[in-house]
């Protein structure tokens, strides 16, 4: 049994690494994706293009604006003079947000009323919007604190070192500077592993059907079980190689923290592969040509990314859709990978998603194998 599996394994590797197109798909495409997410994903969080609509135009409003412009997060691109302009810059996505002071801001600050400032954000990218809101909150908080201190000094007449007040420092854990590359790069691992294992497995099996070698294998004494094992193992190994590659580039080049255990990362990847290789196997049973297989892979892959929480938080989705995501293996794998990288937590906390993946994987691979065996006969 082992000899037959080994023969297929060896043949598969020979074929994959002989094909220059295959080599670049396997090694280059993960690198390109890491680069894209590593560089592109860092830019949107600082120097956010912002417009100012200051109806008050007083020392107080300008002071606070200066606080905003001194932080590296906001960059003033436009100074607006009408509501139409405001609508326009947002609609045309010229800016991501508008800071608006109404008339009477200074009056309220000086008088003992609480003054209002509006931050209008483009909510299209809800992730970014909430992060920016956090920054704005910090800036305003600092301003308040200083204003309070000044007022106290005016009252007491001399410098006071501190005012007893609750200092809510919005400390973010795990990804302190909210650098989105830290958030996205580990996610890229899960995307690459999914796409590659689906694509490579289904195409490799369907190709044998297309060229007729599958028939030759069916006539040989090889069992479907041996065939499946020999066909899937190479792609599991390749997936692990890709995880290694992305991790190395992410950590050494983009300085992504890796706080958790690499062993756990590889182990959970293997468990996850049960599901994606199983789905790849399933796709191979419903496709007659490689083109059909590729279409089916993309048909599965796209919604699976959308419903994984990779780009849009699951919590922001409609309730019904949230339930649907429970059946998406990628969702769990994504949580595991991000947790290992950013939180550094171990199996003690992650056993639940790993177990879910294991059960899902076992189910999928069993059903696909049965279907595959039937499709051979």
């Amino acid at each position: 049994m082992f000899e037959r599996i080994f023969s297929i394994l060896k043949k598969e590797f020979l074929q994959i690494f002989r094909d220059p197109r295959m080599r670049s798909i396997i090694f280059l495409s993960p690198l390109i994706q890491v680069m894209i997410f590593g560089y592109a994903a860092t830019m949107d969080i600082d120097h956010v293009p912002t417009a100012v609509y200051d109806l008050d135009n007083t020392k107080q409003s300008r002071d606070l604006l200066r606080e905003f412009s001194y932080s590296k997060y906001f960059e003033f691109k436009y100074y607006l003079s009408s509501l139409e302009e405001l609508r326009d810059v947002i609609d045309r996505s010229k800016v991501f947000g508008v800071i608006k002071f109404d008339r009477g801001f200074a009056r309220d600050v000086i008088g003992n009323k609480s003054a209002e400032l509006q931050l209008i954000l483009d909510g299209t990218d809800s992730n970014a919007a909430s992060i920016i809101l956090g920054y704005a909150g910090q800036i305003v908080g600092n301003y308040n604190y200083r204003a309070l201190k000044e007022r106290a000094r005016a009252l007491v007449g001399n410098e006071i070192s501190s005012i007893p007040m609750v200092d809510l420092r919005d400390r973010r854990w795990f990804n302190e500077n909210l650098e989105s590359k830290n958030y996205y790069l580990p996610g890229v691992i899960s995307l690459i592993v999914t796409l590659m294992s689906l694509l490579l497995t289904s195409m490799a099996i369907v190709r044998e059907k297309e060229i007729g070698t599958m028939e030759q294998l069916v006539v040989s004494p090889i069992t479907p079980f041996e065939l499946i094992l020999g066909k899937l193992t190479p792609f599991a190994i390749i997936a692990l190689m890709q995880v290694t590659l992305i991790t190395i580039v992410g950590v050494l080049w983009f300085h992504i923290p890796i706080r958790g255990s690499l062993v756990l990362l590889f182990f959970s990847t293997l468990v996850y592969l049960l599901t994606s290789l199983g789905i790849g196997l399933f796709i191979s049973t419903i496709s007659a040509t490689q083109q059909e297989a590729m279409m089916s892979v993309f048909l599965y892959n796209f919604p699976s990314i959308l419903l994984s929480g990779f780009a849009y938080p699951i919590a922001d989705m409609p309730k019904v859709i949230q339930y649907v995501t429970l059946f998406n293996p990628l969702r769990y794998y994504l949580v595991i990978v991000r947790s290992i990288f950013l939180k550094g937590i171990g199996i003690y906390y992650l056993w639940q998603p790993i177990l879910i993946l294991f059960v899902m994987g076992l189910t999928i691979i069993t059903l696909s194998s049965l279907r595959f065996r039937k499709s051979l006969g």
Binding site: E3, R4, F6, S7, I8, K10, K11, L14, Q15, R18, D19, I211, G212, T213, E215, Q216, L217, V218, V219, S220, P221, I222, G377
Partner: protein
């Protein structure tokens, strides 16, 4: 076991939907025999082979290959048979040696024999110069030889060859048949399909399959004598092509075709036909002609058998 290299089927049938590809056929192949399975395109040759090798299951009927049931004991059959499919089915992106190694691994050829068998196959197929070449760069004939080699790497007792010589030049074809005969001499049963009728002479016995039914079976000699009810006449005449139409439409002439410098006519009643042919020549004042009875080639036999079959079935449809 006496029957470990025989093939036998009874009432074997395969339907694809409403279409009957193989229609309740019966035949037996004894050990060490070269059995030819002949028929035009779409006759059901590949379908039959695919049922015997366990690739598809029959709709009804039964069969035994190497003494094992083709429905219940497919697993046991597999180790004992070799199969060369009609489509070239090796890995184009592997080299000659890698292909051989792959199949020798799949069939678990014993370790200490691997190298020797590989060399033997490379020698048999004459592939010495190409052993490290990618299979995709081989020409058609070499690919077929490699495919045959890979199909016998595990020393099967029975080998199924589905049109092994299609798209192959005449010299390679002869070479192929030499290998096939050699295998039969060593006790291997060969089940081979072809639609090259001249190749059928190499078979010990053969069956003619047409539209899913076996319409004749026997040795080449039997086919040409007992089974062939018609006579073939060789007509030598100048400008044969001008006479062809006239002869073909004569009563009693089943079929006529140009054959090099002469016309071959298949006729039912030898005497009557010769008289009729001579008659038209005489009437147009021609003296220089010759009509002789010749021995039918297998091709003549098959063509007239198929025509007879078609006529019979057309009539039965009409009535």
């Amino acid at each position: 076991m006496p029957e470990n290299n025989t093939v036998a089927v009874t009432s074997l049938e395969k339907k694809f939907g409403n279409f009957t590809a193989v229609n309740r056929i019966n035949f037996e192949v004894s050990g060490g025999e070269i059995f030819g399975f002949l028929g035009p395109n779409g006759a059901g040759k590949s379908t039959t082979i695919r049922m015997l090798c366990g690739i598809i299951s029959p709709t009804s009927g039964s069969g035994k290959v190497g003494g094992f049931d083709i429905i219940k004991e497919q697993g046991k059959i597999k180790q004992n048979i070799g199969y060369m499919s009609q489509r070239f089915s090796l890995y184009d992106d592997l080299t000659v040696e890698e292909n051989i190694d792959f199949y020798s691994g799949i069939y678990r050829v014993p370790k200490d024999e691997k190298q020797a068998r590989k060399e033997k196959i490379i020698g048999l197929a004459g592939l010495e110069a190409f052993r490290h070449r990618l299979t995709s760069t081989l020409s058609g004939g070499w690919k077929q030889r490699l495919a045959l080699g890979c199909a016998i790497i595990h020393k099967p007792k029975i080998i199924f060859l589905d049109e092994p010589t299609s798209g192959v030049d005449p010299i390679t074809r002869n070479n192929f048949w030499a290998i096939i005969k050699d295998m039969a001499r060593n006790g291997i049963t060969v089940f081979v399909t072809t639609h090259y009728m001249d190749e059928a002479e190499n078979c010990g016995r053969m069956a003619l399959i047409y539209k899913g039914s076996i319409i004749a079976m026997g040795t080449p000699e039997e086919m040409k004598t007992k089974i062939m009810k018609n006579t073939v006449l060789d007509i030598r005449v100048a400008k044969g092509e001008d006479w062809l139409d006239k002869i073909e439409t004569l009563k009693g002439v089943e079929e006529a075709a140009l054959f090099g410098v002469s016309i071959h006519a298949v006729v039912k009643d030898e005497r009557a036909a010769i008289d009729a042919i001579k008659d038209i020549f005489k009437r147009s004042g021609l003296k220089d002609y010759k009509v002789t009875k010749i021995k039918a080639t297998l091709e003549d036999v098959f063509v007239s058998l198929i025509e007879d079959y078609d006529k019979e079935h057309d009539e039965s449809k009409k009535s």
